[in-house]
């Protein structure tokens, strides 16, 4: 069986509608990104993909072609758009195993969304209780929070007042809910009332 399996993205059914959102907000699905959850003693001092594990709570740092996201005192998420899921787990496990850490492939556990534009903060504030002010949730910040009723990992990418950009990681099974929630949240920005 040499033929390749096609991948399917949970947000596929929503892409057209998300693409047609009114001005001020762009919501796009991130392509398939390999994710590995890792648990290791923060004192181990390991470097991953050229970066030290961030130890400041609720932050992320760039690492290789992806990011290292702080999730807890001994827990991180490593992302890589350019690595195969099982290869990422093997690579990270190879680094962590000698210091008693573990890695788990969670690539399909969550999907990523990009939310950006002048209205991005406003829309997120409709369902996210944390303070997203540009002086508070600065680029490099992350949070494990809820958006609507979906648990998410929220990353601040670009903090510009007029064009903020966020990445949202959400459990794959909640992706449709979150897309529906976002589309609904943006109804008020439509020029004319939708026909109901």
């Amino acid at each position: 069986m040499a033929d390749l399996l096609t991948r399917s993205h949970p947000l596929e059914p929503y892409l057209t509608a998300l693409d047609a959102l009114p001005d001020g907000l762009r919501v796009t699905a991130e392509p398939f990104v390999a994710l590995a959850g890792l648990r290791v003693d923060p004192a181990s001092g390991v470097q991953l993909r050229g970066a030290a594990l961030p130890t400041t709570p609720n932050t992320w740092v760039p690492a290789g072609d992806g990011r290292l996201v702080w999730l807890g005192p001994d827990e991180w998420l490593v992302t890589s758009p350019g690595t195969a899921p099982e290869a990422l787990e093997a690579e990270v496990a190879g680094v962590l195993r000698p210091v008693g850490g573990v890695a788990v492939d969670v690539s399909a556990q969550r999907i990523g969304l990009r939310i950006s534009g002048p209205r991005a903060r406003q829309v997120l504030a409709k369902g996210c209780a944390i303070d997203l002010h540009p002086r508070v949730f600065v680029p490099g910040s992350s949070a494990q929070t809820t958006l609507g009723q979906a648990g998410v990992v929220l990353l601040a990418l670009d903090g510009r007042d007029d064009d903020a950009e966020f990445a949202v990681l959400v459990r794959s099974s909640f992706a449709g809910y979150l897309a529906t929630w976002l589309l609904d949240a943006c109804l008020e920005y439509a020029d004319s009332a939708p026909t109901s």
Binding site: L5, R7, S8, R39, V102, A129, F174, E188
Partner: protein, 954 residues
């Protein structure tokens, strides 16, 4: 219709636009800027509603939310009950009518949108009156993040209803400049039509913004009608103003009787004369302004009745210059009129004795008994209140961390004082936040309030009778007589008095009646008012619609719908879905003309006879890693996990500390130090939490790491005698023979370079392979399996067929066949309880004598003797007495039916049940009442299909 009581000019209304509305079937007109109340008053209509118990006419008694009288029902554009005409902004096409104390909910769904927004600030200011505006400006100029919320249509607060002059210009000009300055600050959120209705711990404030109510039928449908702001503020400044307090006297509820400040607001803000001939009854200086302003506007002020023995010498002069008669040391003892007050009965008051009364004709009776600071939010935050003798009112008695009160809400009742207080409180908030004050301009200059005479505290005028028409709470028709009855019955606490009399429990929550009730109760008991205190102020400050609280969590967004990676395939195949927790799972796949029974019988037969496939991706999956992983699982499961070989699978049962089953599932040993634990769909989150709790709190020394991988791995059981052909065809690299790939083992393979794991696990008793793949590729792998299965007639089946197949084998569903009181032994799973392990969760409880009671409820099978009845799940099981009769009531219950289905394999219905001493009853006939008849059922073992297990290897 005309508006004969509209002044020729003035007021903050747009006279160039005329709005038409209907009240009680009559058409009226008004202008933008009007409320329903002001437009009705302009038309000369005071009588709005009738009272809830007595049916007495009631009118507009105040100008805003403290009004206890003008209860209306909106009919158009959408029915909404129990609103106040004083807070309904007028719009074209409004249809409303007065209410007899209670309204009517709409019978059609509300199509308006509601939403919520979170907001964070350094300083939240509640109230955009003089104190609030100064506080907000002060904080904004210091660079603080500020929110200013105010419940009225425009900022200004009390300034909207007076003719005050600030910095030499009319107050609205100063207000407009302040609003403009706030708008220029990027970090200021200024919301009008927004009521802060609840103040909670840590500066959390809920505020309701009425975004489109005032637009009526022109409201855009895609914009939320109301929005709940969830504001988190480091400091809260409550500048909510004060409510004028009435004085209680006989027949004080007639239309045309109004708080003095309210009348002044109707004049200045709305350009409305609330009457032609007025009497003012006051206990303080502030109300004189209302009489003088109305006089200047052309109202004939018949008399000012001042309860104070000396009255107010200063204000008397003002009145005399205007030709207004002032009666000092006098009170209003009663009124005449039905639909509208016609006379005030006035009598001298000396040394607490009321003299003979005489009637003074009037169509407007203004009342002022002083001011009650709006301490609601402060009190909600658990701030203590104290009674202030001089003001006759309750004031904040302490500083709360993070909550400050400013202006008239703090008992400062003059304009200059309010402005200064706003600055003072904001400065303190900034200091607490460590923010420098920044560049502040001087406070606006205002005319000094002339030195006046002290107010007098007068709760009620004795009516010479039983007080049964002296209304304390107009909304509840509760009177002084009711208070006397309460104290007569021995009640002393205001909380008890409130509940006995219902005073303060109506939809205004006692804004005018609460303090009066405290004062009168104190008098009746002969104790100081401080001793009675107030009742507890609780949110919401004004009523909030449930729809607003629900916000967008309605319909599809009520609860997240979780779907698997193959969901769209199921939809396309016409699956009927079932809610399993938050998951949408295919329940069955009906073919044209099939009902559920027919579809499930077909799916069952096809699976047992050929091959079926299930989307089992919702099963909980937990990755367990670490050197102590095997030891950890040994402690969690009742059976031994550490002896499991890498490459093998074991079924395990998990119990709580009480020895009762909480979850079950299979465990795959992936490596010496790594396992994949499968949980039930509903138990996934709970089991992970349970594991983490033990790991973190009891066994932190174990080197184990857990991770949820539920959505990482899609899982498809391929089930039935032909499953080997299908799986073998899709994964040719795997030897799927029984010898090479035995039951309860797993093998890794790949498809198109993508890793796939296969496991010989069966939840049906049939030969079966579970296929695990990264969910990115789930849809592709599923379709390969369907394609490869086509020659074998592969049949997708849903949860209903899964349930039937497992029940036929006696496999319990935790949570359906168990209820938290069932042990593994009760389920016939003593084999899954290790006798070798030194300990595991629940082990000690198995030693309890009750656990070995032979009469415990045990899981058994039931076969209805008529081979036809499907026993309703939950049915009770009873035993007939000798003679075939039911024993006398109460009929002892032997147990209940936990699962019940039609079986294609058995050709008859069957059930699982928990039955007392069930296993010892096998072969007996017991009875199940169904729709009034007793259905005889045979008790059997729980395994009804293939008890020898001959099918699992194909």
């Amino acid at each position: 219709m005309s508006a004969p009581f509209r002044t020729p000019e003035g007021g903050r209304i747009d006279r160039s636009t005329t709005l038409e509305f209907t009240f009680d079937g009559q058409t009226h007109t008004g202008h933008p800027g009007d409320t329903l109340a002001s437009a009705l008053l302009a038309a000369g209509r005071h009588s709005i509603a009738t009272s809830v118990k007595l049916g007495r006419p009631r009118g507009v008694a105040a100008a805003w939310a403290e009004d206890p009288g003008s209860l209306v029902q909106i009919e158009e554009p959408f029915p909404e009950p129990m609103l106040l005409a004083t807070t309904v902004e007028l719009y074209d096409g409004l249809v409303a009518h007065g209410l007899p104390g209670q309204g009517r909910l709409a019978e059609v769904p509300d199509s308006a949108r509601y939403d919520a927004v979170h907001h964070h600030v350094d300083v939240l200011v509640v109230g955009a009156g003089p104190a609030g505006l100064v506080a907000a400006l002060t904080a904004a100029r210091a660079g603080a993040r500020v929110a200013l919320v105010d419940e009225q249509a425009e900022a200004g607060g009390a300034l909207l209803g007076t003719d005050d002059v600030l910095d030499g210009a009319p107050a609205p000009e100063w207000v407009a400049a302040a609003v403009a300055e706030l708008a220029a600050h990027p970090d200021v959120l200024h919301l009008q039509r927004t009521t802060a209705f609840g103040l909670y711990d840590d500066g959390f404030v809920l505020a309701l913004e009425r975004r489109t109510d005032h637009l009526g039928t022109a409201a855009p449908r895609n914009v939320s009608r109301q929005r709940v702001w969830r504001i988190r503020a480091r400091r809260v400044v409550v500048a909510a103003g004060a409510h004028e307090r009435p004085v209680v006297f006989a027949d004080n509820d007639r239309p045309g009787i109004m708080l003095a400040g309210g009348a002044r607001t109707f004049l200045h803000r709305y350009g409305v004369l609330p009457g032609r001939e007025a009497v003012l009854f006051t206990t303080n200086d502030s109300a004189y302004d209302a009489a003088l302003d109305l006089h200047r506007a052309g109202v004939r002020v018949q008399a000012v009745v001042d309860a104070r023995p000396e009255g107010s010498p200063q204000r008397r002069q003002d009145c005399e210059r205007a030709g207004i008669r002032v009666l000092s040391g006098a009170v209003v003892t009663g009124t005449q009129g039905v639909e509208r007050v016609t006379h005030a009965l006035v009598a001298p008051l000396a040394a607490g004795e009321v003299g003979a009364s005489s009637a003074i004709g009037c169509d407007l009776l203004l009342v002022s008994g002083g001011w009650n600071p709006a301490v609601h939010l402060f009190s909600q935050a658990r701030g203590r209140l104290r009674y202030d003798e001089a003001l006759g009112a309750f004031l904040p008695a302490e500083e709360l961390d993070g909550v400050a009160v400013a202006g008239s809400a703090a008992g400062v009742l003059d304009l200059a004082g309010c402005l200064a207080d706003g600055r003072r409180v904001a400065d303190a908030a900034l200091a607490a936040l460590g923010l420098a004050a920044g560049e502040q301009s001087a406070l606006p200059a205002v005319e000094a309030t002339p030195a006046g005479s002290a107010p007098m505290t007068l709760w009620r005028v004795p009516d010479g009778g039983d007080g049964s028409t002296s209304f304390v709470d107009l909304q509840r028709d509760a009177t002084v007589a009711d208070l006397a009855r309460a104290t007569g019955a021995g009640l002393r606490s205001m909380e008890h008095v409130k509940r006995y009399t219902t005073i303060g429990t109506a939809h205004d929550q006692g804004k005018t009646s609460g303090v009066l009730a405290s004062g009168i109760t104190a008098e009746l008991l002969g104790v100081p008012v401080q001793a009675t205190g107030t009742t507890t102020f609780r949110p919401p400050y004004t009523p909030v619609a449930f729809a607003a609280l629900a916000g967008r969590d309605r319909g599809r967004l009520f609860d997240p719908e979780r779907v698997t990676a193959v969901h769209d395939w199921h939809v396309a195949e016409g699956a009927v879905f079932e809610d399993v927790g938050q998951w949408k799972r295919p329940r069955y796949y009906p073919r044209p003309g099939e009902d559920m029974d027919a579809a499930v019988l077909r799916e069952c037969a096809a699976t047992r006879g050929g091959v079926g496939i299930l989307d089992g991706s919702t099963l909980g999956k937990i990755d367990v890693q670490g050197p102590d992983a095997a030891e950890f699982l040994d402690r969690l499961y009742t059976n031994m996990i550490s002896s499991l070989k890498v490459g093998s699978v074991r079924y395990g049962v998990m119990c709580g500390v009480d020895g009762m089953v909480i979850d079950d599932g299979t465990v795959l040993r992936l490596a010496e130090d790594r396992f994949l634990v499968l949980t039930t769909t509903g138990g996934a989150a709970k089991v992970l939490d349970w594991m983490e709790e033990w790991l973190q709190t009891e066994w932190p020394q174990l080197r184990v790491r857990l991770a949820s991988v539920t959505e990482q791995w899609s899982t498809f059981p391929v089930v039935g005698p032909r499953s080997r052909d299908v799986v073998g065809a899709v994964f040719p690299d795997v030897d799927v023979s029984n010898e090479a790939f035995p039951f309860m083992t797993w093998r890794d393979t790949a498809l198109g370079g993508v890793p796939v794991r296969l496991a010989r696990i069966s939840f049906s008793g049939e030969l079966a392979y579970e296929v695990y793949v990264n969910s990115w590729y789930a849809r592709a792998v599923w379709e390969r399996l369907i394609e490869a299965g086509r020659p074998h007639g592969i049949t997708p089946y849903g949860t209903e067929t899964m349930h039937v197949l497992r029940a036929e084998k006696g496999y319990p569903i935790i949570g359906q066949d168990t209820d938290g009181t069932v042990t593994p032994h009760d389920l016939g799973m003593a084999w899954a309880v290790s006798k070798k392990k030194p300990d595991f969760i629940g082990k000690r409880s198995f030693a309890r004598p009750a656990n070995s009671d032979p009469l415990r409820k045990q899981l058994v099978g039931l076969l209805p003797v008529d081979r036809d009845t499907v026993l309703p799940e939950g049915s009770q099981i009873v035993e007939l007495a000798d003679g075939g009769q039911l024993p006398p009531p109460p009929v002892p219950m032997l147990g209940h039916v936990t699962s019940s289905y039609r079986s294609a394999e058995l050709g008859r219905p069957f059930a699982l049940a928990l039955v007392k001493g069930g296993r010892s009853r096998i072969g007996e006939t017991v009875h199940v009442p169904v729709d009034g008849t007793l259905v005889p059922v045979e008790v059997t073992g729980s395994v009804l299909v293939d008890p020898e297990g001959a099918r699992r290897d194909g």
